[in-house]
Subunit: 341 residues, 4 copies
């Protein structure tokens, strides 16, 4: 029997992507959808591409009867999940797609500029990078989905840091990000006429909040402080993140480490040495494509990692984690092939 799912915050792009994935997921059924400002509307009004589905009307969170719900996805802007999750039933499994439970309360305050409203929940929250926290996720009540950029770069770097294959003080990550990562909220610089035909960086110089995740994860892996150089750039595509990661190390060893680490991972594909992936080849899917090349300058390697920010970077990852939490096969509902072109 399918698990009953609530999606809290269903009127954003990650909410819509959750619905899309669950629509053909044999082990889940959507029992409640909330969107406070759009309560009372049908999902078809908010997202007409889902109008073929028979879905519950959008409600407020207060209107949800959680007694029959097995798992809730929380897809709210950062800062709003904390108090909300605190108020949910203790026996409800929760996958939070936002930033609220990714960091320690201290790091959260540093990067998000406000004290955490539910620090007591932090200890039980498991970081949601499935391929690296799988065992803990299986038993978790609360999983904190990773940042989409954070996921992309960690797939490239974690095995290299763990394997002591690269210089930890010289890691430069240049990201190219699709526009949907900014969500559906109204900002002038997200208008079509502003983004189309443009490429521009943002949060440059070490100011992007996903650095909190990198600091936490990479330092823990390395056993020392690691501070990467990290610059995201908006590119005029809807979905996708492509990270070009410049490292100092032996390129062949770097490739071998990634190939070995992901050999048995269903969603992580490492290309042959010297081949590098393209963003268009993962869109709409839960796959990560990784590639490595050397350089004419010896001792240098380029690692490229690409995934779909709404899917593997957010909602697909969330479903993957939910599968584990619900005792379902990890890949269930997630083997949809990328859509190209």
């Amino acid at each position: 029997m399918a698990a009953n799912i609530a999606i809290l915050g269903a009127s954003g792009y990650t909410g819509a992507e959750l619905v899309r994935l669950i629509a053909t997921h044999p082990g889940m059924r959507i029992a409640a959808l909330t969107a406070d400002r759009k309560a009372g509307q049908s999902m078809a009004q908010v997202f007409p591409h889902l109008r073929h589905l028979d879905l519950p009307t959008l409600s407020t969170i207060e209107q949800v009867d959680f007694s029959g719900i097995d798992l809730a996805f929380v897809a709210l802007p950062h800062g709003l999940s904390q108090a909300l999750v605190k108020g949910l039933p203790r026996d409800l499994k929760v996958v939070d797609l936002g930033a609220d439970f990714r960091l320690s309360p201290e790091a959260y305050e540093t990067w998000y500029g406000q004290p955490h409203a539910a620090p007591e929940l932090q200890p039980e929250a498991v970081y949601g990078l499935t391929e690296f926290y799988r065992d803990r996720i299986k038993g978790a009540r609360l999983v904190a989905g990773t940042g989409c950029n954070a996921a992309t770069v960690q797939f490239a770097l974690r095995p290299l840091i763990e394997g002591k294959l690269i210089d930890l003080d010289d890691i430069v990550c240049d990201l190219k990000n699709g526009v949907s990562g900014a969500g559906r909220s109204l900002k002038e610089n997200m208008l079509f006429a502003e983004r189309s035909e443009d490429v521009a960086g943002y949060s440059q110089g070490g100011k992007h909040r996903h650095l909190g995740e990198f600091d936490q994860e990479f330092s823990a892996l390395a056993g020392r402080d690691v501070r990467i150089i990290f610059t995201p750039h908006l590119v005029p595509v809807n979905r996708g993140i492509l990270a070009s990661v410049y490292v100092k190390g032996d390129a062949q060893a770097v490739h071998a480490a990634l190939a070995a680490r992901y050999a048995d991972e269903p969603f992580c594909i490492v290309l042959p040495f010297g081949e590098l992936p393209a963003m268009a080849h993962v869109q709409g899917s839960n796959f990560v494509h990784l590639g490595v090349t050397g350089d004419r300058v010896t001792g240098r390697a380029l690692v490229v990692s690409t995934l779909d920010n709404l899917n593997k970077g957010s909602s697909g990852q969330a479903v993957q984690n939910a599968n584990l939490m619900l005792g379902l096969p990890e890949t269930e509902g997630l083997m949809l092939a990328p859509v190209f072109p």
Copy 2:
């Protein structure tokens, strides 16, 4: 047990879309893939977005052992299917995605400028517009997939012509077409720099080959010659056709006829009167969205029909037909939700 499928002409976009759909189709498995000029290559080399799949290597058609194949999709440029299909085993079910078996030999010669190479097969070929030829498709050996534009417009017009609801001498169809419909072949006007930021019509003035299908189908429905005005325009999107069909008739009656006709169709959705669909809401799916509005000029109606040219307009339609031919549920493998944004 899953049916064994061959895809002949797998190196084009419709071939890739077939593989994408079959990848998560429980009733089909891919047993052979051909692409004469790319024989010997893996599908991952030709379409890296499919590299997570375990697929047969591309071969020539001659190399295929058809004895174990249940059904072949033929996705070749027009003109090449005729001789090929003629040479296939008589007991092999065939869904042709090209233009070769859509028209009578005479009409074929008129629109495609060459005599038909297999006129003897024409009588058994069933026109593949599933919603209107379902019963004949179930028993067919050879189904001729429709043109993608032809499908889009027929969904809008067939019930209106059949219901005698519109003036048959004043039908204007203005189409906006995504670029993938032109396929993967090399043409200067299909370069990114030429198509991006452009909108331009083509085959204007009654020269587009899909008019052969309209003439044949609409005249048969009406019991008299029908000649529509039809102009397609290339727009800078990858997938999608949106047809704006201007008719003379009572808009409410037009809407009622479409709503009634498609009430039980799983893939055809008619919006409430006055609401009109958008291309972005069907991309990646087998759904057709239809809408109708009136005009301040009485006696006029606008019918808008939109679908994904690679999916419902081609490969999705083909799988839908193959499901029927193989005795599978018609919707199997095709309920993938549209991908938005």
Copy 3:
């Protein structure tokens, strides 16, 4: 000596386009720029692409000393120009780019839903379609720029209506519009992720406000009421309008009438019979490209007209009119070639 120019409402796209054009216009210099909500900012902050220019700081309208200004362009949202223009000095020449002075007070109220605030100015306002109101514009104090869609379609139809070449009761205009026409204001459906990869109509069914201009102009030309069928569609390009106009008439005569009418017009180019223009070939310029083809259905013609909505459809037209009003050569500053690709 260059004329002193004020741009009132310089923070929108048409304001920026005015600045771009005047930047290399030998007969004009920008003396004042206003933007009420952005007063105090530099133009470089609002539009960084103009940062190489030495421009006045944005101010409020109240802060402008109009005594030294020769001509003001008013680029405000509709409804705001009326009271403003009323308050400007009587000897200041004004080109309004908005909708406020295009229509009679009655028609204005019908289409814009509110009474006109300065009906006494209406009689002196000249409709700004330069090629057809040139003589009156030369002597005008107040010129009302046309709607961008309205201009595009009028270039196609005016000579045909005047020449009695087409059936006035069967004119279907299907437009494809670039996104910049919607301006820089924040609307969910103008986000990149919503517009990219989409085509969708709007204001269908005879509801678009530019119909007020068509009714007024075409009825006056014909000496009887004319009501065209008109549907605009948003396409994912920044600039450009391409109108496909379906008429009943002799295609060769239609072409001959357009060719004759525009033979001496510097900005209107009629292609050889049977060739139709593309949106990409006018972007960034003040040119209109027009083409005509017949159809296999005799008595039908397709006229296609395309221009850049921000340039010839708005700011370029405004400069062209200002040239006339200031006694400058009509083409001065406007011969910039289209930018392709």
Copy 4:
């Protein structure tokens, strides 16, 4: 009196951009246009956006009477200019936009894989980065236009290398390139459906030919070998290159050096410290925008440089150089403002 200009190789995008720029250039007139494979066609057939211009018919190079020509732009694929330039009259000024005269014969052979056909011309060829070779260009007969990527990165790095402000062994350049840089030739990966919605690197790992220019120029400046890490990525925009250059050095000093160096340059604009430029703000123009920020990791700086590859990166640069060679004001015809949006 305007100088007579020939454009040899006018059927590519840089040829069209030259025509666009010269169309409003008061000191130049186009006297000859060649395109061997399209000889006999009008420029309007090859580039309809230029159809308003009165231009010579395309001819073969052999058909050109060079006696009345003052200067020739050569816009041919690399490898073809060498022999051609050799055969041109000795008193004809030449600006080559291709790669043939940028490098020493040895370096040319290394990077382009074939011996140079006119090594005797190499000594007189001046490298065309105007802002750094201005004095030599004024007296040159033959100027070799730089690579478009090469120009973008050199604007960022030359003053820093010259000022000994950065670690020469740790320079990482990540470029995002518009698609028009690949030209109009037919390649599968340049089709709209392949490039739209994609970001992908190319020539990674130190294989891009513009590295020959970097090696030559940076090593000469530094007085030692310099080898930068350089990765270009194709992004779905038509025009523009944005280089993110990661260096080790004091960010404030880096900014100060750039600001000082370009203070009097008409086309190079350095943003205030901490502000970084966007590609959309230079398109269609000859301007370069530069910005610098520091990082939370001390001793690191990010320099971003952006320009229009067809304009400042190629044809605009060529006109700027031609202005100098012809004794015209350097900025003549080049002050066109960027086109946004």
